[in-house]
Amino acid sequence: MGRNNKSNIRPFDEGKFDVRGRVIPYGEYRPFSFLPELRMNDEVAPHIIERAEAALNEPIPMLPLSLYRDFELTGMRSNFETPWRVRRNQLAHCTLAESYERGGRFIDKIADLIFAILEESTWVWPAHTNTPWAPYRDAVPDVYREDQCHGLDLCGGSTAATLALTRLLLKDELDKISPVICKRIDRQIYLRATKPFLTHKFGWTGEYGGGCNNWVTNITLNVLFATAVCERDLTVRESTVMRAMRYLDNFAAYYPTDGSCDEGPDYWIASPGDYVDALELIDEMTGGAVKVYDHPHVRKMLEYISAMNIDDTYFVNFSDAAPRISLNGKAVMEYAERCCSPELYSFGKMMAAKMSPARYFFTDTIVRSFKTHATPELHEADPVLAKRAVWFGDNKIAVLRESEVTSEGFFLATKGGTNSEAHNHLDVGALVLYYGGRPVIVDPSRGSYNNYYFGHERYNRWYTKSSYHSVPTVNGIEEGVGAAYASKDEIFDADNRTVTMELGGAFPTEAGIISMKRTCSITGGEARITDTVKAKEESNICFNYLTIDEPRIIEDGVLAIAEGRSFIYNTDLTLEIEKVTNTYLPFEDLDFKHLWQRDCLWRIVLKKRAAEAEARITVK
């Protein structure tokens, strides 16, 4: 979502809900009342138990201060985060396994993990130290008093929720070891989650300008859940629900009216997905008195994901998104039911049928993971029919399909917008072309979140630059960074399945561009891309197309490219074919093998020295 397309829609405010007196007290609250039982399904159980058994034989990793400090010293996140995650994953697996078996063989390990996590000086990640609310100074957690108010980031929230799930499922067993364990969980959840949530001014809440993203939904969901399970004080429970409603409204208000997720499809599950999970908790915590699922804005946010699906697990992957996402189909079905969207439901069912029960959704919240595992597996789905033309007017994303059946014919997506989006790449005008559900022209995705990727080094990498997003260059100059660098004059013609945008404004003045017009269409079994550049004076104009396989020259003006397609261009342009690899080390580390199952990508460059040039591409 850009900065100028806020919906300003606040569903809870609109509903004028009165929460006081409606929140269910600690002793009567029963979470996940819609689930058949608080237990994994029998199909997933063996897989989780296998991992839990492995955890029994693995040591709990230490988290010494030097690892906390490591990120500041090296810029590497994984040295700290990997062992940090191992602790949580061990706990989650052992908790699910023990609550399924109830034989007691995991309970000592669970108690060890709980105490190890409770003993951690902070639950906030070192990589989140640049946030002003983090309890850090000079990379050492600034916590030394038991009652000290901690910061609250994604990781503090998820830690609280993981402990809360263990407590929810295994309190009796833990009490047998000692009532101290759950008392200490409750205390620390209050100090590290509920209290900061209620009393601190965090930027991610969207309360202080600057917008909000998946942080607000994720943290709100996790804190709500942990508070719902552990907090005995009814006033605190009420305050937490009311605060959550306000933050969730901030999220909805900042979200664009068209429902598109500017962080890309793989953040969708963490943004609108967590949002709906939080709505569900509020619904449960108030005994059904506070519900907003039926709001059209909620539905738009949710339906975005089915529109962005190309075919199978391929999604349009603008920004930092990965091209293939194993989306939690069961969750999608649940959201579709909440917002009453048959289209989303059938997409969810297709994804659910593709889910392997062995897959544990590490990237999901513990709340969603648990709901997913407690829901029966799905093995069959009906074919999904997609709309042939979709336009997201706020984020300027166009989706065009040759066929309603996702696995047939051409799929083309392009995006305008600005160069100041969340997880931004310099990609105003980026192009994605698939055929038969398989990639032809691609958005490259990203490397690891290392080495100041979230800082001044971000745009040193090839895969964040516009020339590697199939956008032309003039005199080698890339697009500029910032909200001012944007597309304009976007025209979407659904009937003719054509989209046109003016991209010249995305470049800095020194590029000397008068206009750069990109037109894409799908027609007559062909994908057509026409790029027209007008410069102030004679310039080196390059038209770039990032493709997945090495193009072979068939004849002048005709290339054989991926998926057996032909790439036809006007021969007044000079052809160059470039191999694309990581060269600027250690910053560039895009994982070609993992993302694209290739050793490299290729770029078709069509050049002309002139004041005006046009590339007319047909792929068939």
Binding site: A111, I114, R137, E146, D147, V180, I181, R187
Partner: protein, 619 residues
């Protein structure tokens, strides 16, 4: 010391000493004000560097909750404690390595361990979880705001270990982050200072006056950490006042004769730490508070030289080990400051046989540091011991054939009660050495496991009277309790004879009218006479615990350890019994390590009748 021989001497109180206005502020405090050159000796430096290199290459042991819970489940201390202790040892050896070497290469690991310790839920050992405020159901009981922690002999030394990091490496910590020092200050206050000031713990001796080495050990560590880490002057004064009050409890409970009823193995932790505390108070008040001149201080000190047999062998009554390395450098200072040349020369002899070591590092890094900066002693003059010593409160008699400790017979006997600290059922126990080598022994103790400090203590052979060269009468051993005691003790210095009535140490059911034991050294012989009179005809087994298998040469004559000959009145029937651990897992005396033998032996002489007497002569 039993309950009835308290000195009731309260030195600080008698002299009206108060802390107010005398305490140095934090930034002016230095330790060992009387030592000008505070440099770690080269010899110590080498030991430290070796230990520190090993620590650098070692992983920090993990302390999961299951290890804390283990003691309650299994009764075994050694599952948790080695991992816990290793953290502290690693921390301090690297801290001193950094002090010695100053290259900064240990800093990161030091920080990691310090941080890990700060993250520990409690600093109290699981074996001490009955300490108030420490636990609930074997899980560290910490979950409330600013919850007061308990305070045991390990929580206090965690304070010291961190205080030493703070003292020596504070500037380097600040370069990394000021949080670390702040967190140490806070933890020392929460886990050391506050419990000391706000709680009344059993070990303080506030309720019944009973106290032991816990008091001195805890107080010296908390006082050290306060001196280094606590800024607030009122708190500094309050800790010193409390320290002096508690030290008075300690000296008041201590017997006038200076005898340490926990045995010589605890001397360095009891009067030794008392003395360390006095030195720390001297430093903290810039010399304004000193009490070394009090005769009670001297008596408590001199005990250790009195119970030395020869070299590293000590009288090892109760839970003491037979061979002890004593902190000679500290003992020399103790002797010097309290005006005892005897203690000083014993300390020097003890130190000359020591090599630089870090045994005190775990319990008190402060004391270790003092050793590190004191020049090594390599040679000592001969120590001449008194031939006859009587500790009237503890009822301990020491007799020597020669003034030179390594020559002739050494015979010691102890009466007292069966309710002493670290008690064994041992009223009347004898220890016989020749030329500084053991013949009849007190067996020492096994591990502190499996209910040793509870109801299972006396199911072990080495805590029973029959394991202490005391007769069994009609199958009865002596019994535990204050009323089971010796009486009519007669010590004759001139004739080198001690005699005690021991019948009262046995239960009524044993049917004993009187049982008198007389020990003497005369004419190059050690003589022991045990005379038992019974209410009715019965069985008496005279027991003597010895090192080597006794060989019968002829009735009435045995060849025993050290090539000695033992003669006895031949009407008694002789039996040799092998002594080893059989009641497993409770009995675990390390016979091989303590005595260099696979097993011990008991010389048993059997008698039947209304009267029985064993007359033993060893020559």
């Amino acid at each position: 010391m039993g309950q009835n021989n308290r000195s009731n001497i309260r030195i600080f109180e008698e002299r009206g000493i108060r802390a107010e206005g005398l305490v140095l502020p934090k930034e002016k405090f230095v330790f060992f004000r009387d030592v000008k050159e505070k440099k770690i000796t080269k010899e110590f430096g080498e030991v430290i560097m070796k230990g520190a290199e090993e620590a650098l290459a070692s992983e920090i042991p993990f302390l999961p909750l299951s290890l804390y819970r283990d003691f309650k489940k299994t009764g075994i201390r050694s599952n948790f404690e080695p991992a816990h202790h290793k953290r502290r040892r690693m921390l301090s050896v690297m801290t001193f390595a950094e002090v010695y070497e100053g290259k900064g290469r240990f800093i990161e690991k030091i920080l990691d361990i310090a941080w890990a310790m700060l993250e520990e839920s409690t600093w109290i050992l699981p074996a001490h979880f009955n300490n108030p405020g420490a636990t609930e159901h074997s899980v560290p009981n910490v979950y409330k705001d600013e919850q007061p922690h308990g305070l045991d002999i390990y929580a206090c030394n965690a304070c010291s270990h961190l205080a030493m990091v703070y003292y020596f490496l504070g500037d380097k910590l600040d370069e990394i982050s000021p949080v670390i020092k702040k967190r140490i200050e806070h933890a020392v206050y929460q886990r050391g200072v506050r419990p000391l000031l706000e709680h009344t713990f059993g070990w303080m001796g506030e309720n019944n006056g009973v106290c032991n080495n816990w008091l001195t050990d805890i107080v010296v560590n908390v006082l050290l950490a306060t001196a280094i880490c606590i800024e607030d002057m009122k708190t500094r004064e309050a800790v010193l006042d409390k320290t002096m009050h508690l030290l008075d409890n300690f000296s008041a409970y201590y017997p006038l004769d200076g005898g340490c009823d926990e045995g010589p193995g605890y001397w360095s932790a009891a009067p030794g730490d008392y003395f360390n505390c006095l030195e720390l108070i001297e430093d903290l008040t810039d010399g304004k508070i000193t009490i070394y001149d009090h005769p009670h201080v001297k008596n408590m000190g001199e005990y250790i030289s009195k119970v030395n047999i020869d070299g590293k062998y000590f009288l090892n009554f109760s839970d003491a080990a037979p061979r002890l390395s004593q902190p000679g450098k500290m003992i020399m200072r103790y002797g010097e400051k309290c005006g005892s040349p005897e203690l000083y020369s014993f300390g020097k002899m003890a130190e000359a046989s020591n090599t630089p070591n870090l045994v005190h590092l775990l319990y008190n890094p402060y004391i270790s540091y003092r050793e590190m900066i004191t020049p090594e002693i390599h040679e000592a003059e001969k120590v001449i011991a008194k031939r006859a010593v009587w500790l009237g409160d503890s009822k301990i008699a020491v007799l020597r054939e020669s003034e030179i400790t390594s020559e002739g017979f050494f015979l010691a006997m102890k009466g007292g009660t069966n309710a002493e600290a670290h008690n064994h059922i041992d009223v009347g126990v004898i220890v016989l050495f020749h030329s500084g080598k053991p013949i009849f022994i007190d067996p020492s103790h096994g591990s502190y496991n499996n209910g040793y400090f509870g109801k299972e203590r006396y199911i072990r052979w080495y805590t029973k009277s029959s394991g202490h060269s005391i007769p069994t009468v009609n199958g009865y051993e002596e019994r535990a309790g204050l009323e089971y005691a010796s009486r009519d003790e007669v010590f004759d210095e001139e004739n080198m004879t001690v005699s005690m009535e021991l019948g009262g140490a046995f239960p009524e059911e044993a049917g004993i009218l009187t049982f008198r034991r007389t020990c003497q050294i005369a004419e190059g012989e050690a003589r022991i006479t045990d005379t038992v009179k019974l209410k009715a005809e019965g069985d008496v087994r005279f027991n003597y615990l010895t090192l080597d298998e006794p060989k019968l040469i002829e009735p009435g004559k045995l060849e025993i350890a050290e090539g000695r000959t033992l003669t006895y009145n031949p009407e008694l029937e002789f039996v040799a019994e092998r002594v080893e651990n059989v009641n497993l897992p409770y009995e675990d005396l390390a016979i091989e390590r303590l005595w260099g033998r696979p097993c011990l032996w008991r010389i048993v002489l059997l008698a039947h009748g209304t009267e029985a007497e064993a007359r033993i002569t060893v020559k």
